[in-house]
Symmetry: C2
Subunit: 660 residues, 2 copies
């Protein structure tokens, strides 16, 4: 059952697409205080709090405080409170069982047993909000109900399930060709190469630097002939530059956000000073969405939208203030107080709340300060792109994923899990995000495999591949200045290549599970407790996930580990794979197990009585021959395989399912 | 067997106190290249690399690169390379077994299978070094050999094994009295209250702010009457202030480090501009050591030496350069390159290598650039203090521990594990540091319990106490601006108080094991593989430690965990304690176990056939009645209990051991 409660005069987010009549009377479960801004729930000892989508810490969010206020935050640490997404859905399971969605585009604070271990407290910045309360028999059913009201998740093209190679640092056409050649040389399957900001001319959206990429259309054509798609980045900010059409059109047609005086607001990002398109206006969305045409015309069929929290390096006015103050301070004999102020001023110069309070959107003719709809910005940018694609290439799926998001954005694109680091702890964190992202509708997602920031190591590469093998997006991405981490940069390419081949062997299964989850409004990755509901041990497992109805994934996320502990809530089949054809299986009983697994060994489990399809690997997804499936698991099992052409938009579950 | 090799003309560190004749010929095990600066060893698959003392990552250091260059680093992250100590001792165990100590006061880089998983590579900044190669039958024996040449570890007074309360933020006498009162009110045992920088007048060493601490002597006297010792901080930098005696004497007598022109070098730290005492000079050490007299005369009997890497917030000259450049940059339309340079200049303003290259020590009449002996600075400061105490109060142990250290400093004081955070991952990291610190001789140590930086939570407090219960230093310490974390700040004081009572109950055992480790040159905390040498599983355990010959500690370090996996390399007795008299025991067989343990339950194991003494808790260590011991473990076992008066310096093992 879904009940909808209104407080004040909420700004429409379009997160929910189903008409639901308003409930009156008291909000169930919660105590409402603080002039309808604070909602409190008493947690009992055994309560688990699921949800919050893209956030740090465990599957069970209990014991920390989180903030929904989209944030370009390269530090995903234990004490981080905000990342790039605002996914205000919680699922409480224990003494009582219910889901709740705080549909609110501004800042929300979630104190999940931080201040007091037995209190969940949600505080909105203003008392203008829709709240959806969802009750049901099981966690999974509650999620399905929630997903049914927020609309079907985005469907990525099948090629996007291939392995992708990316790095902030590929600067030229030659760089790209070398990546493709190297993968071919080592026989590593590859479906995509990502273009980060350097392909653009002076970081201007919808431009291509003519000296470094003299003919992007030709390059894409050459790559496509090898089964490789180029995926360029698009940023939120539009560079202020006379004669630059996107800038000129935006100014002329009032497409940009305004400052308090009604002038186009100026922030600074990669290109220096920019204006931010007012994606809350449909005119802006229509205009911006059709700008993608320039790249679509070059044969490009995939994009990633970035910096759309929006990230703001600095604003001119605040920079002036900072400079003035630090010049004053630096004249003094700075001791602790002055010096900490000095450093703090510069460290805090970006993504400031005050800057988000200083520009405005036009919503239904009204001027609305950005911070009230901050969390919707990246969502509406992704929507602009997606709706543009619908008009420009109505019959073809375009790969689209975004950094910033809000629930609702899941209908228009996927997301990646942001700028993580090459840390072992992030491997686990990225696993733990998967089910909470699924609850919020984000099915097409994945982490920057091997880590974006910091320096990776060969063993971390191997282990991270062993997680990413299972996620829809499997992209190796790294930052400028970090160790190069294309697989052939390491001594033992043979072993990493085998992991990529296993990925390709699993694509029929992964794609099938993804499509079923999309079309059924279901989860692809579930916490163990969603299925083994009466098993207290299963409910508290934080480092294993169920994938579909067939698998339990159990990656190793600790350096130098020679294996790991696994809890089996039922008898399952251990699969240990060194390559697609170099594997062993063993049926293990319900209970606790220590499972050895050397660095080159992927381990996972097939659930009792189930099987999964496998296919021969190939150079890319297009070359996969799904007519020749083999199976892993219980011989007498059947599997419902979803298959389609991977590119057209009409995806019918019944037509495309077959029992194998 | 210990062999000593000399390269070039090393600067004497006095880390090694035993005369060892020089070996000639080739250095065993390693390949020497790069003009005797780089030493490489081929790692086989099963090799474990122990050591490096205070560093991040696991007990097995393999798979990362580390740096010995003492660093005031508040970010102990997976990709951190330097912390506050330089402990250049490695122990390689696998295909071959040996220890090696690179006795070198400058920068050393350790690539422990980072670049290539099968290569250990150690690179010194210059080819002037003593290298000690140690071979033996077991890991423990090699460590004992090493410890025998670096001299006996510092012995702390017994009261320092009590619980200590600390916070950067206790500003006044009233604050201190309130802490004592609150602990008394809740009945939480307490032996010490730490004074952080605010007790000083303008952060000047050996001063007391007369407005905030009008009579420190009286305060200490009042506190001692309650069994509580005040432990003030002393920083390395001496504030430049006309009329301040320490400054004036230092200038007059040439006690400070010099800049290139021979003038007293100016850095800036807490008090603003300071000079750094040249602790490499015995005259400076003698002078500085006797300055502690001022506080000793007030009855103070414990100190912590801080900021002695030395930390440098900034230098005047570099600050000018930074300001000039950022003023230039801020005039431009800063895009990514300019903005990152802008932020980087300010972020990198502290603790710069260039600053360490710009001042000088006098060593045996020679001018030596600081960076060549950087890692010895904190060590020589601690030595100054310790040798001062020996002269000033020859018959009494004074508590002394330091942030910065080098091997050798272990003879003069303990260390704390630096400015960690209230992160669950730091709980594990601090456990993993214990054996490597013991290898380097640092027996009196412990982490900032409950975490120094960031915000703690009640469950983290409970779990962290369950580790710190076993470490010699058990100090709850937190930073200005973080959540207050004295135990009575949380809802459930009853449970945390019980953990402190368990600590006091264990003090006879912990003190005894500490003293035996000191007097035998042995380890107090060992990795499992040191004892269960043939057990591959035990060798790879990263989250359990052996304590003495009796215990295996197995703290829980994951939020919301309801228990943990434990590997028993032999039959052991599980102890589950909610309080000193609220406990259960159970004998568990060798093998893997999942052991449930609620948040208020401490779990650890007693080794087969062993027992440990327990005593009733008391308000403080002085009130402990060790005449009434009870025991936990195997009834027919005996235990060798070390007892002494806890304060005098003559500690004879034979005289003070008794079988119980």
């Amino acid at each position: 059952m879904i009940q909808k409660y209104q407080y004040g005069n909420p700004i429409e987010t379009e997160a929910v697409v189903t008409e639901i009549s308003l409930s009156h009377g008291t909000l169930p479960f919660f105590q409402t205080t603080n002039e309808n801004r604070t909602f409190s729930y008493g947690l009992s000892e055994e309560d688990i709090v699921y949800g919050l989508g893209e956030q740090v810490r465990g599957i069970n969010k209990r014991g920390w405080k989180y903030q929904s206020f989209n944030f370009d935050n390269p530090n995903h640490e234990e004490d981080t409170q905000s990342l790039y997404g605002a996914h205000n859905f919680l699922l409480i399971s224990g003494k009582e069982l219910f889901g709740v969605f705080f549909d609110y585009g501004g800042m929300v604070e979630f104190d999940v047993g931080f201040t007091d271990h037995s209190v969940l407290q949600v505080t909105l910045e203003s008392a203008d909000c829709m709240i959806y309360m969802i009750t049901g028999e099981t966690e999974r059913e509650i999620v399905k109900q929630f997903r049914s009201i927020i609309g079907q998740s985005y469907i990525a093209p099948k090629w996007a399930f291939g392995y992708g190679q990316s790095r902030w640092g590929y600067r030229t056409e030659e760089d790209v060709r070398a990546i493709a050649d190297k993968h071919a040389e080592y026989g590593i399957p590859l479906d995509s190469i990502y273009l980060d900001i350097d392909y653009m001319e002076r970081y201007k959206d919808f431009t291509v630097d003519p000296t470094r990429f003299s003919d992007l259309k030709q390059l894409q054509s050459d790559m496509l002939a090898r089964g490789i798609h180029l995926v360029p980045i698009i940023d939120a900010g539009v560079r202020i530059e006379e004669g630059y059409d996107v800038y000129e059109e935006g100014v002329q047609n009032d497409y940009f956000c305004k400052d308090a005086e009604g002038k186009d607001f100026v922030g600074a990002v990669w290109p220096g000073k920019v204006h931010f398109p007012d994606f809350m206006k449909s005119e802006t969305r229509n205009w911006f969405g059709e700008k993608y045409q320039i790249l679509l015309d070059m044969g490009i069929d995939g994009f990633w939208n970035d910096m759309n929290e929006p990230a703001i390096f600095y604003t001119e006015k605040h920079l002036d203030d900072v400079m003035q103050r630090i010049n004053d301070l630096s004249q003094q004999n700075m001791g602790v107080n002055e010096f900490f102020e000095f450093k703090g001023l510069v460290e805090g110069i970006s993504n400031r709340r005050e800057d988000y309070d200083s520009f405005y959107h036009e919503i239904d003719g009204e001027k609305v300060v950005h911070s009230k709809v901050h969390n919707l910005y990246g969502y509406q940018m992704t929507r602009a792109a997606s709706e543009g694609f619908d008009r420009l290439v109505p019959d073809k799926r375009i790969l689209m994923f975004s950094r910033a998001s809000y629930i609702g954005a899941h209908r228009f694109g996927g997301i990646w899990q942001g700028d993580n680091k090459s840390w072992w702890s992030h491997l686990l964190m990225n696993l733990q995000m998967l089910p909470s992202l699924n609850m919020a509708g984000f099915l097409f997602n994945g982490a920057d495999t091997c880590g974006f920031g910091s320096q990776t190591t060969e063993d971390l590469v191997m282990r991270w591949l062993q997680l990413s093998i299972f996620t829809p997006l499997m992209r190796n991405h790294s930052a400028l200045g970090t160790r190069e981490q294309e697989l052939y940069q390491f001594a033992n390419v043979a072993d990493t290549k085998k992991m990529i081949e296993i990925r390709y062997g699993l694509i029929p299964y992964i794609y099938s599970e993804y499509m079923k989850a999309v079309l059924n409004g279901d989860m692809m990755f579930q916490p163990l407790g969603f299925v083994f509901r009466e098993d207290d041990m299963a409910r508290n497992v934080e480092d294993q996930l169920l994938l579909g109805d067939e698998l339990m994934i159990t990656p190793i996320y600790q350096q130098n580990a020679q294996g790991r502990y696994v809890y089996l809530p039922e008898e399952m089949m251990l699969v240990r794979m060194r390559g697609l054809e170099d594997l062993e299986t063993q049926i293990l009983p319900k209970g606790h197990h220590y499972v050895p697994a050397k660095c080159n060994e992927l381990i996972f489990f097939i659930r009792n009585g189930k099987k999964i399809p496998l296919v021969q690997s190939a150079d890319n997804t297009t070359s996969l021959d799904t007519n020749r499936l083999c199976f892993l698991g219980w011989n007498d099992a059947t599997y419902a395989l979803y298959e389609d052409d991977g590119i057209s938009k009409s995806c019918n579950l019944e037509q495309n399912l077959r029992t194998v």
